[in-house]
Amino acid sequence: MFVRLVYESFRRQKRRKFLAGAAITLGVTVATAMIAVATDIGDKINRELRAIGANLIVTPQEDTLDVEIGGVNLKPPSDGAFLNEADLPKIKGTFWHNNITGFAPMLPVNVTLQRDGKAENLTLLGTYFAKSISFGKEEFKTGVRSTHPWWKVSGAWPDDSSRDVLMGERLAARLSAKAGDSVALSGRELHVSGILSTGGSEDDEVVAPLALAQEILGKPGAVRRVYVSALTKPEDAFARRDPKSMSGAIYDRWYCSPYPQSIAFQLQEAIPHSHAEQIRQVAQSEGAVLTRIEGLIFLVTLAALFASALAVSAAMATAIFERRSEVGLMKALGAGRLTVASVFFAEATLLALIGGLAGFAAGGMLARQIGRSIFDSQITIAPVVLPVILAIAVIVTFAGSAAAIRKAVELDPVFALRGEL
């Protein structure tokens, strides 16, 4: 009888059930989409923040001081220690290699420019533009085009295996050079494939493939420093602790959290004789921005959950309120309060489950749409969230119905049947 009551209620009151179900579906859709966006927003904004530049730097351990003003290096070129280029692919072998979005080695070299019989001292910066590197079975491309996205080139980017160079825009203006010209640098005739504009010291320099800079310096495989762009977690008090003072389990937790400090620590392990450090301007500030945005979206998600809970409750309350005469009839026929309540709760559960499932699917699609249109990348929702969402849907539906069901149960059948209330 109980099952039949519930079944018939769904079969005969399709419109009302549909309305209540639609409200639940919509509520769950919004909740799911917002939860998906909120859990992923940190990662997405982190990727956007990489546009500001690398947040970690790797230098040789025994490096001498930089004597550099406004991008002009006053240190003898052969001075100081170097990293080995062959060690660089190991960056992709560290624990957090998936969080490393790119790296770019730098090798500044002092060169002389011969022009109209005069010699001028310049800095030539060797780097990767978009070099293909393989580590194990993995193939990836890295270089300044991914780590320094604000570098703009009019003309063409040089190929990493070529002998083409980029000329900084201020230098080019001074020499009235343009893309396609050639320059004489330290006895080599080099083809300028494009004019580089960065807004920084590179505007006064010549930027070349790393191999060319090594050849000019006469030190194959030498790299002065490596800029690493990594997705990191905002630093907290735990991140700042010294790994040497930690015991096993705590050390593991520190090591396996993507703090700037722990990624720097792992880079130092991967590259021999190196010193890795966060670039505080980038790393510290992005922590602040990220925390604020995550906090904002979290609060907004709470508001969304609240609004959808309210919508579901309102729909359920209305649906039950409309069925007072039915309750009156049941009671007049001798149904107890418990029976009446359990019929309504069974219906609510069924509705919540169906609406929850439909809403979860729709919410996943909505989240994907938001991800694609705003961030040009996927926002996927973990299947783990499904039981949580269903539980929330059932609880909210129950909570929304509870007041209305209590009222219905306490109803005097005489009044209900006469329609006087």
């Binding site: 956007e48 505080r280 500030s285 907004v300 909505l366």
Partner: protein, 385 residues
């Protein structure tokens, strides 16, 4: 139940004796709200909550850019002034730059030379204003800021070279020597680590070199920053004004995407809240089909009926929107305090939007059930079928 009803009736009779003769229309409106208090309150509550959430979201959406821009100033300077071709800036460069900025940011000067340590090693020594740097470059990890004259802030890498045991050391530049005490160290992970910082006064007294770089962190929209850069160029024709491009571009991207996400969330939340109001109100109106039938049976015209329900809906919408607006401003202010540690300024431009939206939703909620009821004969409703 019946006891409550009769008490209610008595109340009503007592009240009616004192109330002056108002028109039937207004009385019906008021009585509808008074007699079905529970349902009316539920509808009003839904309206208030929806309006509050909508107000808070719209307010945040308008304000979030200003708030996040402030956070982005943690990254330091977004405009740099340098002397053309490496020359020093005029001595009044800072005051002139400051008058252009006029409180909308922080200005810090830097003067740089390459000096020699006592054993002849080259090292970059900078003169600056520590108070300003402290505000501008908040990421600098400094153990102790210099407070007195002849005290230096030493980069962590430079410290090993010049003063491994924290002892005072000599620096020489073009034959002139200065004796300084390390007050603390600075660590940034970039060029600052290999430099020594002195106060501008000490630096100028020692080298006679004026600042050649002024770093400026200006707050404002891209248009405001562009205007500031234009004014700086006019005020200081001897300087080259450069934007820090990676910061400007990164900031614009992050702000744009955060705003877009917030917009999507706002749209979803407002839609949900509107549907909540719609379903509550429709239930309420549907519930009153008997009133509707009686009015019709007594000879009310369609126009009067529509007017009656529309006026009721409009009153509910307006009340809900106003109360909700106040609550929503409070909610936005709370979020601002909790998340950004700054007040979110109330935007009264949002108010007409919220009121209009609420009216549309309530009118829709009233009109939809009425139009479906209109086709039904009053007798059928009154018989309860």
């Amino acid at each position: 139940m019946s006891g409550g009803a009769s008490r209610l009736e008595r109340d009503v009779v007592a009240k009616r004796a004192k109330v002056p003769h108002t028109s039937m229309f207004v009385r019906m409106l008021l009585r509808a709200a008074v007699l079905r208090r529970g349902r009316a309150a539920a509808a009003l509550l839904a309206m208030v909550v929806a309006a509050a959430v909508a107000t808070a979201m719209l307010n945040l959406y308008v304000d979030v850019q200003a708030k996040l821009r402030r956070e982005f100033r943690n990254y330091g300077a977004n405009i740099i002034l340098v002397g053309k071709d490496g020359a020093s800036l005029p001595p009044d460069a800072i005051t002139r730059a400051e008058s252009v900025i006029a409180g909308r940011g922080v200005v810090a000067p830097f003067a740089l030379v390459v000096a020699r340590t006592s054993d002849g090693q080259p090292i970059v020594v900078a003169g600056t204003d520590f108070e300003r740097v402290r505000q501008l470059d908040r990421w600098w990890s400094v153990s102790n800021w210099p407070a007195a004259s002849k005290q230096a802030l030493v980069g962590v890498r430079a410290l090993q070279l010049v003063s491994p045991n924290n002892q005072p050391f000599d620096l020489s530049f073009q034959g002139r020597t200065i004796h300084v005490t390390p007050a603390g160290t600075v660590q940034t992970g970039s060029a600052e680590d290999s430099r020594i910082y002195l106060s501008l006064g000490d630096f100028f007294f020692w080298t006679g070199v004026q600042p050649s770089i002024v770093e400026i962190a200006a707050t404002g929209s891209p248009e405001e920053i562009a205007a500031i850069m234009r004014h700086l160029q006019e005020a200081l024709p001897a300087a080259e004004v450069r934007p820090v491009r990676q910061l400007m571009e990164g900031e614009a991207r992050v702000l744009g995407k955060t705003r877009a996400t917030l917009l999507a969330a706002t749209a979803l939340i407002i839609l949900t809240a509107a549907l909540c109001v719609l379903s509550t109100l429709m239930g309420w109106v549907f519930d009153r089909r008997r009133d509707f039938a009686i009015m019709k049976a007594l000879g009310a015209s369609d126009r009067l009926m529509n007017g009656f329900f529309a006026a009721e809906a409009a009153a509910l919408g307006a009340t809900g929107a106003l109360v909700g607006f106040v609550l929503g401003i409070g909610l936005a202010a709370w979020i601002g305090r909790v998340n950004f540690h700054a007040a979110v300024t109330p935007r009264f431009s949002v108010l007409p939007l919220v009121v209009a939206g609420s009216m549309v939703v309530t009118l829709l909620a009233a009109i939809l059930p009425i139009s479906s009821l209109r086709r039904v004969q009053p007798a059928v409703i009154l018989r309860g079928e």
